[in-house]
């Protein structure tokens, strides 16, 4: 039973929800709409419908190469960061070792310092100390460092709820460390591992500060877009942004379908 007062509150919270979602989605909608603009103006309102900016963007070899770089970087970053983060996250929760608290603090450090500082520091270390040439590889190192806190924390938060006795039971039944990890520890961690993978992929895909510092002459899409912003702004930028949103959603969808397929196959066997 709802009193008039509760009614008013319901209406208020509904209105608030609409405002919040509008604030979140409106810029996105504007960008998507503008990408189909027929004129070369980026200011509202659009005039006419056209796919010319998509055609123009995809026609440029630099854009295609940047897109490919972004994809490769995102996948390799996600793979490495998720693998490292899973091991680190589980280890921080399960094992007590000397310097555990220090390790936990150090792991989250990269999110606490500004990306600018991390980028600068990595440039000095990678080029000055290790004499590496700035390229996609150095950016990959930066992205793995930058995303490791996220993947570690995601997996650790799930690992807390693991039942340690299951690992004891596995060893008691004769299984070694590796088998216990793969068959007993990993399955309940999988949702977190998946989330960590997606999270690190999307962070890497959208990251621009480290990309400016560490990519050298290689370019990622955010890096390319940032460069374009500084020169001349056309709806081409909107088209590329829209493509990136589509790509991100596609990655989420593909991962989801793949995970379901994998899960149902495991249940059948």
């Amino acid at each position: 039973m709802s009193t008039p007062r509760a009614d008013r509150f319901d209406r208020f919270s509904a209105a608030l929800t609409v405002v919040v979602f509008a604030a979140l989605l409106l810029p996105l909608v504007v960008v998507v709409v503008m990408s189909f603009n027929a004129s070369n103006s980026v200011s509202w309102p659009p005039s006419g419908f056209s796919l010319q900016w998509y055609a123009e963007a995809l026609d440029k070899a630099r854009v295609r190469e940047a897109a490919l770089n972004t994809l490769r970087l995102g996948l390799t970053t996600a793979l490495a960061s998720t693998a490292l983060g899973t091991i680190t996250g589980f280890a921080l929760v399960r094992y007590s070792f000397r310097g555990r608290n220090l390790t936990a603090a150090l792991v989250v450090l990269p999110v606490l310092v500004p990306a600018l500082l991390l980028g600068l520091g990595l440039v000095i270390v990678l080029t000055g100390l290790l004499h590496l040439r700035l390229s996609l590889l150095t950016l990959w190192v930066g992205h793995v460092t930058f995303t490791l806190p996220f993947t570690t924390l995601i997996v650790a938060s799930r690992a807390v709820s693991l039942d340690r006795r299951l690992e004891d039971a596995s060893r008691d039944l004769g299984a070694g460390w590796l088998r216990t990890m793969v068959q007993v520890v990993l399955p309940p961690l999988l949702p977190a591992v998946r989330a960590a993978f997606l999270f690190s992929f999307i962070i890497s895909m959208n990251e621009v500060v480290l990309a400016l510092f560490l990519a050298g002459t290689d370019q990622t899409l955010p890096g390319y877009m940032f460069g374009e912003f500084l020169r001349v702004v056309t709806p081409e930028i909107d088209a590329i942004s829209t493509l990136m949103v589509v790509l991100a959603v596609a990655v989420l969808a593909i991962e989801n379908v793949a995970a379901r397929a994998l899960l149902s196959r495991r249940e059948q066997s």
């Binding site: 039942d163 006795r165 299951l166 004891d168 039971a169 596995s170 060893r171 008691d172 039944l173 004769g174 299984a175 070694g176 088998r179 068959q183 007993v184 399955p187 309940p188």
Partner: protein
């Protein structure tokens, strides 16, 4: 008798931070014995089990399984198998896969795995449960899956950590009977850890009572119950009437003395000691006319009378105010009103003389 003991712990110590879990534990289990380690929470009994299984490394002392020192062996190379408290079944696997786990680890052939898993499931009366998921099972069923999983690898000894603690009372009695049958059928050593004295008494051939990281008494269940060595054991295994007797003097090979309520006759020669403490179990207290003629008699007032079906528990108080608990069979026909004066007594042979006063 020349068989080496299956489990032998000598002066085992284990410390967690400032807490000394095991303070020189000595323990022996012979082949095919069913032994229960009994003790209150925190007495070190679970730590003892984990040391035997290999989950904890003792700080000092030696652990021998089947005559072999196992200090260097991890759990997966010991001849033990554990039934964990709350079972620790793998939630992402079916019943079959849970039971088959230990066999797959040992790379047993596929058709033999099939056969042995079915065999084990049949033994714990879960035939046909193979494809089921763990989440859908009742506590009793999970308990049996845990048992099947532990015995399918044919361990030499089975370690059970409070195996019945999360099962409701009605089912627990049935599972106790099944556990005993299983042990007889398998013919392997069972070492069970529990804080439930009833469970320990009804399951095990022999009891090891632990307190503060040490063994305080060790022997067959009825002996430990009837002849406790200490106040602790007397109180931990059920109700106990304790009488502190002094002024001891010899009497035809027996001993006489007195407590606050009067004279006491003690079976056996104990007069060299200054005082002794007697433990008389409630069912050894004789109430009413039957007490007449017993050497140890007290006048007491009936304070409470609790009917429990098979037995009734009587709470009595002597003239000096000490409480005596007695149980009588309800078929005995004893009847008295609250506040009635009744005579109580006990046979000298029914009293245990405690060896120490702790």
């Amino acid at each position: 008798m020349t068989d080496p003991s299956d489990i032998l712990l000598v002066d085992v110590r284990k410390r967690f931070g400032t807490h000394e879990a095991l303070r020189g534990l000595d323990l022996e289990v012979r082949p095919r014995e069913f032994v229960a380690i009994l003790g209150p929470t925190g007495c070190g009994k679970t730590t003892a089990l984990r040391v035997i299984a290999g989950f904890e490394q003792p700080d000092s002392g030696s652990v021998l399984l089947a005559g072999q020192p196992v200090a260097a062996l991890p759990p997966n190379q010991r001849p033990t198998s554990t039934v964990f408290q709350h079972y620790a079944l793998f939630p992402n696997m079916s019943v079959f896969d849970n039971v088959a786990y230990g066999l797959r680890v040992r790379r047993v052939a596929r058709d033999e795995i099939e056969r042995r898993v079915q065999e084990a499931l049949t033994l714990v009366r879960l035939a046909g449960y193979g494809p089921k998921r763990i989440q859908g099972l009742s506590g009793g069923e999970q308990q049996r899956v845990a048992l099947a999983r532990a015995i399918v690898t044919r361990p030499r000894m089975l370690l059970l950590d409070e195996p019945l603690s999360s099962i409701d009372q009605a089912l627990r009695t049935a599972m106790q009977v099944e556990l005993r049958q299983l042990q007889t059928e398998l013919g392997i050593t069972f070492l069970l850890v529990t804080h439930d004295q009833q469970e320990a008494l009804s399951l095990a051939d022999r009891l090891i009572v632990m307190r503060q990281g040490r063994v305080v008494q060790n022997g067959p269940g009825d002996e430990v119950y009837r002849r406790p060595h200490s106040r602790f054991v007397a109180g931990f295994l059920g109700e106990a009437n304790l009488f502190d007797v002094s002024d001891l003097a010899p009497l035809n090979g027996d001993t006489t003395g007195a407590d606050a309520d009067g004279s006491v006759v003690i079976a056996g020669a104990h007069h060299e000691r200054r005082t002794v403490t007697l433990c008389v179990r409630p069912e050894a207290i004789v109430v009413g006319p039957a007490a007449a003629g017993l050497p140890n008699r007290r006048q007491a007032t009936l304070e409470d009378d609790v009917f429990r079906g098979q037995v009734r528990t009587l709470v009595l108080r002597t003239r000096t105010g000490r409480r005596i608990i007695a149980t009588t069979l309800t078929t005995d026909g004893f009847s008295a009103q609250h506040g009635d004066d009744v005579e109580v007594g006990w046979r000298p042979t029914a009293a245990a003389v405690l060896e120490d006063d702790e």
